[in-house]
Amino acid sequence: MLKFFHRMASPKYFYQFAGKLIPWLGVACLGFMLAGLYDGLLVAPTDYQQGDSYRIMFVHVPAAWMSLFIYMVMATAGAIGLIWHIKLAEVMAISSAHVGASFTFLALVTGSIWGKPMWGAWWVWDARLTSELILLFLYLGVIALYNAVEDKRTAARATSILALVGVVNIPIIHYSVEWWNTLHQGPTVTKFDAPSIDLRMLIPLLLMAVAFKLFYAVVVLMRARCEILQRERNSGWVKELVRASS
């Protein structure tokens, strides 16, 4: 097992292994997503209060879950890269940033579309929305820093530090925003209780969550492969790969 991890840390083996893994993960992702969408859009019962418009939840909630999850993955990978100088961890961290920013954006957009019929406004300064928006800014900061630094090795290490600083700050920001909101204007938005969700709605939600996780795995592996090729473009095995394909 340890040997497996050791070999995976080598960019060449990782490149080949990821290449083999991507189709399988992709098929699984497609399966889960189709099942989740079918179950969510056609099978799950209509909500007694929100009608059919609640069904955007099956995209919105998994996307919001992913936005935080990916930030944690990014920071963890960044820490591993900083501590043990594993190049692959740096690659994974920076490849996650773009996907994470996309999911955060998706969560904000779907939330906004959901909010319009439910709350009557595209945007309210609700605590959760606000912290999601700040999370998007944190992601964009990471990406901007990575793009600004010329040397990609340095850039990856710098963004890892930024991601770690962000991770320390996320709970602080989250609670301060929540506190700010409750102090300022009281609950203008009545939230429905999360745990009282119907089982027939929960199943498609979980299916979609699994599908999103798999989607993230596929995209992050694809991005990591590109990143590895770019970084290792002067090494022997990449040149051989190029020669073989041309």
Partner: protein, 227 residues
């Protein structure tokens, strides 16, 4: 040759930075002018109704302080980076994170402390009650060091970049949000005549957290930026 011990090195660095700043006094004025000017723009933009100003005043002053702190951040490493003394600092046998506290402290004395001096004036301009102005001073005293400490991490990450300024604001401003929330709320709350101990405790907690964690992050970031 004798080498300075840690506390001597700390004091030497602090004195050096203060001396350098003192010799370029005009640069110190600019963030202050900015602070006053931005605050003065708001009544022009939203109207000079005293009740309105009293309501939005704390937020305006704190946002302006945030931006002034952001603008002055670049000064902390710029000249050291240009003349190479930053690299010398990295080679020092003393722990870099402690030296970073000296740098940040000097920077705060130069740029953060003056904000406290003009803040009461701005409070009067925006028609804040006396209690709110007192709270404003306390929050500035507690909050601006946090801004300096967090911001220095961002500067350390971007110091080697040619166009670091824009990116710096993108990196740092989201991290400033908790300070803004607690501080501006404290001022508004005390303006309404309510107790603000909770806000001040939280701000103090942020300060303690920033003092203990951010120098290490700054040191690590500097080592990466200058590698």
């Amino acid at each position: 040759m004798t080498t300075a011990n840690l506390s001597q090195a700390f004091m030497i660095l602090l004195r050096r930075d203060l001396t350098l700043a003192y010799r370029r006094r005009s640069e110190m004025i600019n963030p202050l002018l900015f602070f006053v000017l931005v605050t003065a723009l708001f009544p022009l933009g939203i109207g000079a109704d005293p009740t309105l100003l009293r309501e939005v005043g704390p937020g305006i002053i704190w946002v302006a302080a945030l931006l002034a702190a952001l603008l002055s951040l670049d000064m902390i490493f710029r000249s050291d980076f240009d003349d190479g003394s930053l690299e010398q600092l990295l080679l020092s046998p003393h722990p870099l994170s402690i030296l970073m506290i000296a740098k940040v402290f000097a920077h705060w004395l130069i740029t953060g402390l003056p904000l406290l001096v003009v803040a009461p004036l701005l409070g009067v301009l925006l028609d804040l009650p006396g209690a709110a102005i007192r709270t404003l001073l306390v929050t500035l005293a507690l909050g601006t060091p946090v801004l300096s400490l967090i911001g220095t991490i961002g500067v350390a990450l971007t110091v080697g970049l040619r166009k670091g300024g824009m990116i710096l604001s993108l990196l740092v401003l989201p991290l400033y949000i908790p300070v803004l929330i607690f501080a501006a709320n404290a001022v508004a709350t005390s303006g309404a005549g309510l107790p603000v101990e909770a806000h001040l405790s939280l701000l103090t907690a942020l300060l303690v957290l920033a003092v203990s964690l951010s120098p290490a992050a700054t040191a690590a970031a500097l080592r990466i930026s200058l590698s």
